[in-house]
């Protein structure tokens, strides 16, 4: 607009702003533009707390699932590297000879790293907790164990070994622990499915919370939205003003929840180290591994922080856009 001549100095009318015109012009406003939607109009604290709690729960779930999967994988690999052969005493057969024969047959199979026959004394120790000590094994039909260690990555042909043992040592039976491995696989799968279900619920709760908070913010800021429309703002522009706030809130909440979770896992890991060697520490380690979620676990938590921020921003954008359709 051409404004070469101020309007204020015209004709003989009293000029209410003339005297003010003489004052030196101040430089305009703050250098950083004020947010069009004021931050104080959005119930930020409660939403940040909700997102922080949800991120913490999501990180806890992910960490727990990763620990279970890792522990199950360790157990599985330990168990699958070892098989046992049980030789039962059968009347009319020489138990010692059967044991030696079964061990010899097994040693000859490719993929077997080591074969160890439990002695009578070792077998007695195995049943000692139930039957007490000082047993005369010859008087009891206690089976003898052969522990077979396997090479990694090249498992023997268990079916052929089982067949050979059945033909030559009918009293021997091979246990490759398949049943346990399958159970552990199922358990780990169930833990992962449960974790994914909890994560989905956490995301759903976050989306619902953000939706309600956005609706509240939209209602509070409706006069601003109307003015924006009057000056020619598109719905996309208006949505961006809200989305900017909610992205920040989501990131802040996610960061708080994620950091608390990282600290918690760090403390658990440190406690695990301190308690190593004690009875309780060993039990916990046997069950849960080292309580460490590892580099990938920490990366997963960082990913969840970003995910929460993005979900918060997208949920608010969607809510703003659907609300704007009702405002003309």
């Amino acid at each position: 607009m051409s404004t070469s001549e101020p309007l204020d100095g015209t004709e003989n009318l009293a000029e209410p702003w003339d005297e003010l015109e003489a004052r030196p012009l101040r430089s305009p406003g703050p250098q950083v533009a004020t947010a069009i939607v004021p931050r104080s109009s959005i119930s930020g604290r409660s939403l940040t707390a909700v997102v922080a709690i949800m991120t913490f729960l999501a990180a806890l779930t992910a960490g727990a699932v990763m620990m279970v999967v890792s522990a199950a994988s360790d157990w599985r690999s330990d168990v699958s590297r070892e098989v046992t052969i049980q030789v039962r005493p059968v009347s009319g057969r020489d138990l010692e000879a059967d044991v030696r024969k079964a061990a010899d047959i097994t040693r000859a199979v490719s993929g077997v790293a080591d074969v160890r026959v439990y002695t009578k004394e070792e077998s007695a120790r195995l049943v000692e907790p139930w039957l007490g000590n000082g047993l005369a094994l010859d008087e009891l039909p206690i089976p003898r164990m052969i522990v077979v260690k396997l090479w990694n990555g090249a498992p023997p042909d268990f079916a052929a070994l089982r067949q050979t043992l059945a033909a030559q040592v009918p009293s021997a039976s091979l246990d490759d622990h398949r049943r346990w491995i399958d159970r552990m696989r199922t358990m780990a799968g169930t833990a992962v499915a449960g974790g994914v279900a909890i994560l989905l619920m956490v995301l759903l709760v976050t989306i619902l919370s953000v939706t309600f908070a956005t609706r509240g913010a939209m209602a509070t800021n409706r006069p601003i939205v109307e003015v924006l429309h009057y000056v020619g703002a598109t719905d996309g522009f208006v949505a961006r003003q809200f989305q900017r706030h909610f992205l920040k809130l989501g990131f802040k909440g996610g960061l708080i929840g994620g950091i608390v979770a990282i600290v918690l896992f760090g403390v658990l890991q440190a406690m695990n180290s301190w308690l190593a060697g004690t009875a309780g520490g060993d039990e916990a380690e046997a069950l849960f591994g080292t309580f460490s979620i590892g580099f990938s676990g920490y990366m997963a938590i960082l990913g969840q922080i970003v995910l929460m921020a993005v979900v918060t921003a997208l949920a608010s954008r969607q809510t703003v856009r659907s609300t704007l359709k009702t405002i003309d």
Partner: protein, 219 residues
């Protein structure tokens, strides 16, 4: 520029509040819209500002059929129209400068490209000293001038003003009228909705008179 043909408007299932409106607003024209309270002035302004759709008839704005415009299309067209509300509608958390610059910010312009222009306009309307002031501490007349500055900063082709002198004393009312006349001289078509007969007598311009929902045009 704007053409109304047999336009009618009703709210819900109520009676028609505007009936058979036929008129045009040409570029660079000046007109008053008047009529008794409740005659439909604000409804007609809302039709002109695309915040209401007519229940019948055809509105052509800047060669576009208003009925076929998308929501974003209406927003784009509104950028060619400036509006001054009776209650100003300034954003209380933003300074006078930021309020006036809002339409340019909405257009996505960089602040550096419009800062001088906004300051110059504020100076022109006598608000050079109020650049950093928030609206709650401005007087009624200052708010009115800030609202006018915001309406014209993006150089609209049409300026709509709803009772612009309703909240100010007669002296200031005359000053504001003079401001509108100057804006008109710079090429902006002006439509002032008012029931202030004295104000209309100040300037010889076309009058659109609403009475019982019908429009009578006095050239």
């Amino acid at each position: 520029m704007i053409l109304f043909e047999n336009v009618g408007l009703r709210y819900g299932i109520g009676p028609e509040v505007l009936r058979d409106l036929n008129f045009r607003i040409d570029g660079n024209s000046f007109q008053f819209l008047t009529g008794p309270s409740g005659a439909g002035k604000t409804s007609l302004l809302r039709l002109l500002f695309l915040s209401l759709r007519p229940t019948r008839g055809l509105i052509t704005m800047f060669d576009h059929d208003a009925a076929t415009l998308s929501k974003d299309g209406r927003a784009t067209l509104r950028r060619r129209i400036g509006i001054v509300f009776q209650d100003f509608r300034l954003l209380d958390h933003m300074t006078t400068y930021e309020n006036v610059a809002l339409p340019l910010r909405v257009l996505g312009k960089d602040e550096g490209s419009y800062r001088a222009e906004v300051v110059e306009l504020l100076e022109w309307v006598g608000l050079g000293h109020r650049i950093d002031a928030l609206p709650p501490i401005l007087s009624g007349g200052e708010k009115q001038r800030a609202a006018i500055a915001r309406a014209v900063i993006a150089r609209p082709q049409l300026l709509l003003a709803d009772e612009p002198t309703g909240n100010v004393d007669p002296n200031l009312g005359q000053r504001l009228l003079r401001l509108f006349i100057e804006l008109n001289k710079t090429g902006t078509a002006i439509l002032i909705a008012t029931h202030d007969i004295a104000l209309m007598d100040e300037y010889d311009a076309r009058r659109l008179v609403l009475h019982e929902g019908r429009l009578h045009v006095y050239e």
